[in-house]
Amino acid sequence: VPAWDFAYKRNHKGKELVIVPLIVREGGLPIKGSSSLLLISKNGKNEFQTQIAKVTGDARYMNAKNFKLGDNDFDGIVIIEDLSGNFIEGEAYENGKKVGVLQSNKTDKNNKTKLLSKATTGSFVTIITHKYTRVCSDYGCDTHYAGSESYTIWVESLEEAEPYYGTFYTNGGGGNGGSGSGGGGVEPCNLDNPDCFDSGSTILIEVVEPADRLCIDSFNGFQGGSQNSFWHANVNGLTFEKNPTANIFNAYFSLTNGISDLAMNTPHDGSVLRVTYSPLEFLQATLPELFRNGDIYSRMENGQKYWYFTKYGAQRIAQWSSNMAAGEVYLSVPSPEINPATKGQFVTYAERYLRSILPGSRVTEALNPNAPNTSASYSKTCK
């Protein structure tokens, strides 16, 4: 939604731009981890060009800034899109300085990466930027994960990334074997030689995210509890770190099942979100595929409607709450890797998120000897 009252003018590359802040919502929630602007410029007498600029800070930057975007020390990316959401151009910033040119993930007809920029030497870096809503009230602020965006950028002059240049060069098509820079050394790729970046090349992946993500096969051992009124399991191997070395722990999850339609449609204060949502609305916004696939379903009992979910539904909801808790711990605890209180925090956040969609659910540090065990597996590639 354009906020016309806050529009302003600015000159950019010799053109006068009218810039209108956009209020962006995702799943009904306003996104505060990024800022969108409508850019209007005059191309001819009666011709205007409109584009959208998306400004997104990386997770660490946004947390340090309490989710405000700064001008002079901005870490993150700016993406220009047309009104249909097609990528046009973009730039990456570190500490307020441009460090890279964004390039789309599209390939040309030869299945080669389409290059949008010319530079000397460098490497591709894929940045996954996670977005968060930050909702504040008298009780303080809470954070809600709101999805991610992935962009591959061309970062100029990264001499320290030399080993990756070698990989590019080896896999490069078109016979680019080369003279190198002496002694059989590997010559850095450059954008004047696009064949160097053939498909199949290894790309340096730098994931900017609060934690590794749970893989979809995690938690596949949930079991129905008393009279199908809850699903439960002791989950082994939880964490919230990238490359976890410590703080790998276990917790017990109990997910309420068979909840009345009335309770599922009653808005609550939302202990995590501080927004007025009913559990059903929040579930539909967060995990819509569970409805589509029948993993959440309703049935009539004694003339009343109750909501149930399958074992796979329990698995996915538990994964979601664990990923959310991991993000919360990573963002809110200084040096989580060495903080012994983090397990308790993780469990508290995981339960808050669970309760937002399944009232009466529990996550406890103490394991339940009467529940089955199931495992968590993490990877950067799992989403």
């Binding site: 009780y139 303080g140 509890g225 008393s226 009279q227 009124s229 809850f230 439960h232 017990y252 109990s254 309420t256 068979g258 909840i259 009345s260 339609d261 009335l262 309770a263 009653t266 609550h268 204060d269 939302g270 202990s271 009992e301 004694n302 009343q304 109750y306 809110s332 605890v333 209180a341 397990k343 308790g344 925090q345 508290t348 339960e351 309760r355 009232p359 009466g360 529990r362 406890t364 540090e365 103490a366 394991l367 339940n368 000897p369």
Partner: protein
């Protein structure tokens, strides 16, 4: 039981930061807390029989057992499904039986400020029917848990905070601490 005694009781299982209100506890329980699981397990048969007799009594609509914690049992009892009911808990901390009430159609006289559903829950019955059925459920609970006391709900809302980290507290109350539960409506 006086408030001080509840605090004393809780301090056996949790690190209480000082004696002032609101009660503030550290996030992680003491080692003794984890020994309560065995005590809870020893009451599992009595709990199952209690649920069975509740069901056969025919006094309640839906009877929904939920997981309490490793020191407590929990059951949701529908009075008029699905709009109102009673939640009954049995805790091994101080051998307590606790109850709270829920009604979607009536506003509570006193709200539970720490609940996400404060318009629909109360530590006091919403109706005479709830009061009567709560008494029935309590008498039945005493049959299987004769050494347990009824938790005095006049102390239920005493603030009890769990220190998560700097300036962050998980806000609960004495009832939620003793019975390890969130306060949700009838489900």
């Amino acid at each position: 039981m006086q408030v001080e005694k509840y605090i004393d009781l809780l301090s056996r299982y949790y690190v209480i930061m000082d004696n002032q209100l609101p009660i503030k506890a550290e996030l992680n329980p003491k080692e003794d807390y984890f020994k309560l699981q065995a005590l809870t397990d020893s009451y599992q048969n009595q709990w199952n029989q209690f649920l069975k007799e509740l069901s056969t009594s025919g006094r309640f609509g839906r009877i929904k057992e939920l997981y309490g914690s490793n020191h407590s049992f929990k059951v949701v009892l529908h009075v008029n499904a699905p709009t109102d009911g009673i939640v009954l808990l049995v805790s091994m901390i101080g051998n307590q039986i606790g109850m709270y009430y829920s009604d979607f159609n009536n506003k509570p006289n006193t709200t539970i400020s720490t609940s996400e559903y404060k318009d629909y829950v109360s530590y006091y019955p919403f109706s005479h029917k709830q009061e009567e059925l709560a008494r029935f459920a309590l008498d039945l609970a005493w049959k299987y848990f004769p050494a347990f006391d009824k938790f005095d709900n006049t102390h239920a809302s005493i603030p009890y905070c769990v220190d998560m980290s700097e300036n962050q507290f998980d806000k609960k109350d004495l009832f939620q601490a003793i019975f390890s539960t969130s306060i949700h409506p009838v489900l």
